[in-house]
């Protein structure tokens, strides 16, 4: 593995989750999914810039920055952005 050590001398970063901290702490409004209204189309997860919404619509709140794109784009209006108390 001498090659990798050489690269390390050239300032190499390694992939790790949370490299920029828990970005969920940035959030002011939290997305809340109404499972009654949701028709599982997947548009929220399609448009999430940070891919924090999984296919089965579980939102990773440790990282969700609260941008609100999911709620704005949801065709069924099944996601509400609620002000978060911290």
């Amino acid at each position: 593995m001498t090659g990798i050590q050489k690269h390390d001398q050239a300032a190499m970063s390694r992939p790790v989750e949370g490299s920029a901290g828990l970005t969920g702490s940035w959030r002011v409004f939290v997305p809340v999914v109404d499972n009654e209204k949701c028709n599982r189309c997947g548009i929220c997860s399609l448009y999430c810039p940070d891919a924090v919404i999984s296919r089965d619509r579980i939102i990773d709140l440790a990282y969700c920055k609260g941008c609100g794109i999911c709620a704005h784009e949801c065709p069924k209006k099944a996601i509400a952005m609620i002000r978060e108390e911290k």
């Binding site: 790790v16 609100g68 704005h72 784009e73």
Partner: protein
Amino acid sequence: MEMDTITEIPDDEYILKCTSACAGCGDSLTLRYVLKAAGPDIVLVMPAGCTAAFQGIYPKTAFTVPVVNIAFGAAAACASGISRMFLATGRTTKVIVYAGDGGTLDIGLQALSGAFERRTDFLYICYDNEAYGNTGMQRSGATPLGAKTTTTPAGKAEVKKDIDAIIAAHNPPYQATACASYPQDLFRKVRKALTFRGPTFIHVLSPCPPGWRYSSEKTIEVGRLAVKSGMWALWEREHGNLAISAPTKAAMKKPVPLEEYLSVQGRFKGIDGTTVEQLKEQIRETFHRFREEEDRP
């Protein structure tokens, strides 16, 4: 919304949670689909820009694909070297430059032109947020006429540089435009570009909430309005043959009023009527040029 195309896009994500990109970042969304389309066997070459800045804090990164961070003006030159080395050693790994509008239209233009002239086998993607976002929204060659930036507080007096025409003059086998608001279209174009040998180019409009001064949830809507109003056109050109993408075809038949696009953004606040007319004239000219090019035998 074409449901089937959503399922065609792989579930794999190549950026770990989470970069330090702003909430609602159009560039993050663009990069997400670029990487989904390209897969893991790539090298990303990145000059200075928002994307280089939001990778993570050394020695950590959110990117699971190899990234070479290189000086602002040198991305295409660096990619040329890597691509040539892969060719010499028989590696099939794809080389992709992911650069902003500053690193493409202004600072990286010379290296970009050189790499295209040498027929470097690589894909150059320009994510365009129409200013130097990472340093606080100074005007770039890509800033449109009338847009306010921190260095054009009264609105930019010059028109946006037509980088796509400059690229077209290099006769690449494939070039396209895309927009973060149409991820399926972007995904398909990246996949297609990677099937060509030689230099290929994709220019992606990536709306920027803090820079364009709209609230973060409107990123998709703003990008969509850019296309529907004609301020941004979606097309691809394969060996010189132009094909207009469906959303722009619809816009050419019946565009939404430009004011709808301008009024949702703070950067166009207080724009005067003459400038709006000039922008509308530009759109009409672009559509006219498209029709002529399409009709050519």
